[in-house]
């Protein structure tokens, strides 16, 4: 549990089913609330429209498609997010990159910075 993250709504965009469930569970473990998970850019956009989101975990590569347009939508709304990637150096707009496999303390630290 993390007091800073309690009740915070975190959008999870990840195409790999099991990994998306892990992300949701890890958020729950930290006391946050996972929104989603979304597997595609359009699902992610729908959730953004319909739901309240404080921050997001965005996989760079969604089934072979880059998630850049979703990243742009998050920036436009001023929602902080981190990129999740298996690539050592995901090119982004300066957002923090959470490597795979996920590390719970690192996820917590990144979310605290994003929401701080």
């Amino acid at each position: 549990m993390s007091a800073a993250l309690a009740g915070k709504r975190i959008l999870v965009v990840e195409d790999e089913f099991l990994i998306s469930l892990l992300a949701m569970d890890m958020l729950e473990e930290l006391g946050a609330v996972g929104v989603g998970p979304a597997a595609t850019v359009s699902e992610g956009l729908q959730l953004l429209e319909a739901d309240q989101v404080d921050a997001a975990m965005l996989d760079v590569n969604l089934g072979g498609t880059r998630s850049d347009s979703l990243a742009d939508a998050l920036r436009a709304r001023g929602i902080p997010f981190m990129l999740a990637s298996g690539y050592g150096d995901a090119a982004g707009g300066g957002e923090p990159v959470l490597g795979k496999p996920y590390d719970l303390p690192r996820l917590q630290a990144m979310l605290e910075v994003l929401l701080g």
Binding site: I19, G86, Y87, G99, K100, P101, D103
Partner: protein, 463 residues
């Protein structure tokens, strides 16, 4: 010795005697023969030197024209006669010829002669006079030079590179025939200028490298794209050395090697390694997620779940390090830094020191895993479980090239040896011996855990 009367021009009146003698002496000293032919009477005169050069003994009569002509290589004689007749027809005042001449005792020689021609007012030839000299050595040297030059051109043209020389200021003074691959119908304006051939994005770096090489006066080596005759660009390695010639002037001798395919292969490899890395880590993430769901259903306690996740993380971090170095092997200092990430804030109390050592890729993961287990143990039970404890990680390379790594904890709570050996000690003690042929000594000393890992010299390791 009785000789025919010498022609008038060389039988001077008294006042000119000395001057003529000096001329004769000079000709003699220079090994130059003189001759004269009266073209009205067809009388021929040779100087003593001419007799000597042409291999005849001065006799009582005239020189033997037929014997002389018989020694000239026939086609050279025919050519000389043709040119002589041509000059006479044109009333030309001079003629220079050369011919190959067979001396009975010295083989074939190269002779040159220069002669003057005099004509009567009506155009009839009156007189022919001149000199003859042996130019065999000069002709041989010239032939050698020609052969050497020809051989250099052929060799340079056979090179799979663009070969060039440039003056010190960069002006090109030579290109081999390969220039044709780059020079498209004079589209460049000046076909010899090299700067317009370089890709606009590469020109600044090229000029900087060139200026640096000129300032250092030594070696120029630079990779850039050059435009080909078809307008496309290809990657090249340009390389040149400044060398002082026999004339004392320094020139650049250079080549441009087409490395385009190599460059593309490098780029493909880079992408492939990145993709491989991505897939490896995605697979590890899947394993992590699968284990998470499995353990959740089986109600496995958080401790083992966390340990499993951390171990996967340590393995992924080791792969990350390898990918960054493109699987060339990782620096030991970096492996240590990556492996103790699990210590969190306490990582600052892990003090690493040692020389620069690169571990081969196959050694990276087991060492990283062992260090991760040591670190986890230190955080849970050892020096990093207290506020003040420290860990000293040090390594050295012995004369045989073996790497000795020591993990020494101090300032922690009193240590008791574990009652059973778990996954951690297995990775520390047995994995390194099994997989890397190394030795590990793990001591649970009361004042702190101490672990020594010795890796034998790696045949493929770089110091």
């Amino acid at each position: 010795m009785s000789r025919p009367p010498e022609p008038a021009f060389s039988r001077p009146a008294q006042p000119e005697m000395r001057a003529v003698s000096r001329t004769d002496l000079a000709l003699e000293a220079a090994s130059i023969g003189a001759f004269e032919l009266d073209m009205v009477t067809d009388r021929l005169w040779w100087s003593d030197k001419t007799y000597a050069l042409l291999g005849f003994e001065p006799g009582p009569g005239e020189p033997d024209k037929d014997a002389f002509r018989a020694r000239i290589v026939p086609e050279d004689l025919a050519e000389a006669n043709r040119r002589f007749a041509e000059q006479l027809a044109r009333r030309a005042p001079h003629l220079s010829t050369s011919f190959r001449y067979r001396l009975p005792d010295r083989g074939e020689r190269s002779m040159a002669n220069h002669l003057g021609l005099e004509y009567a007012a009506d155009g009839r030839p009156l007189r022919c006079y001149g000199i003859v000299l042996d130019v065999t050595e000069q002709v041989a040297v010239q032939a050698q030079l020609k052969t050497a030059h020809d051989s250099f051109r052929k060799m340079a043209d056979a090179m799979p590179q663009l070969v060039w020389t440039a003056e010190d200021d960069g002006r090109i003074s030579y290109y081999n025939a390969r220039l044709a691959l780059y020079h498209g119908d004079g589209a460049d304006g000046d076909a010899w200028a090299w700067q317009p051939r370089i890709h606009p994005q590469d020109i600044d770096a090229t000029l900087a490298a060139w200026d640096a090489a000129r300032a250092a006066g030594g070696l120029y080596s630079h990779e850039h794209r050059l435009r080909m005759a078809d307008g496309g660009y290809r990657w090249h390695l340009s390389r040149a050395e400044l060398v002082e010639g026999a004339d004392g002037a320094a020139r650049w001798y250079g080549t441009a090697t087409d490395i385009h395919e190599l460059k593309l292969a490098e780029e493909r490899q880079r992408l492939l390694v990145a993709e491989l890395d991505h897939r490896v880590k995605n697979s590890l993430a899947l394993v992590q997620a699968m284990a998470h769901q499995t353990f959740k259903g089986a109600e496995v306690p958080a401790g083992p779940r966390r340990a499993f996740s951390d171990r996967l993380g340590a393995m992924a971090a080791a792969h990350d390090t390898l990918t960054r170095t493109r699987w060339d092997g990782a620096a030991l200092a970096e492996i240590v830094r990556e492996s103790v990430g699990g210590a969190g804030a306490a990582a600052g109390r892990i003090l690493a020191s040692g020389p620069e050592v690169t571990l081969a890729p196959m050694r990276t993961v087991p060492i990283a895993m062992a260090l991760h287990e040591l670190c986890t143990n230190a955080v849970k039970y050892g020096a990093l479980s207290t506020e003040a404890g420290e860990v000293h990680v040090s390594w050295r390379v012995d004369d045989a090239g073996a790497v000795e790594l020591e993990w020494r904890e101090q300032g922690g709570p009193p240590v008791a040896p574990p009652t059973r050996r778990g996954f951690g000690s297995m990775m520390i003690e047995r994995a390194i011996a099994h997989q890397l042929g190394g030795e590990t000594r793990l001591d649970f000393r009361a004042d702190g855990v101490c672990c020594c890992i010795r890796l034998p010299a790696d045949a493929g390791a770089r110091p």
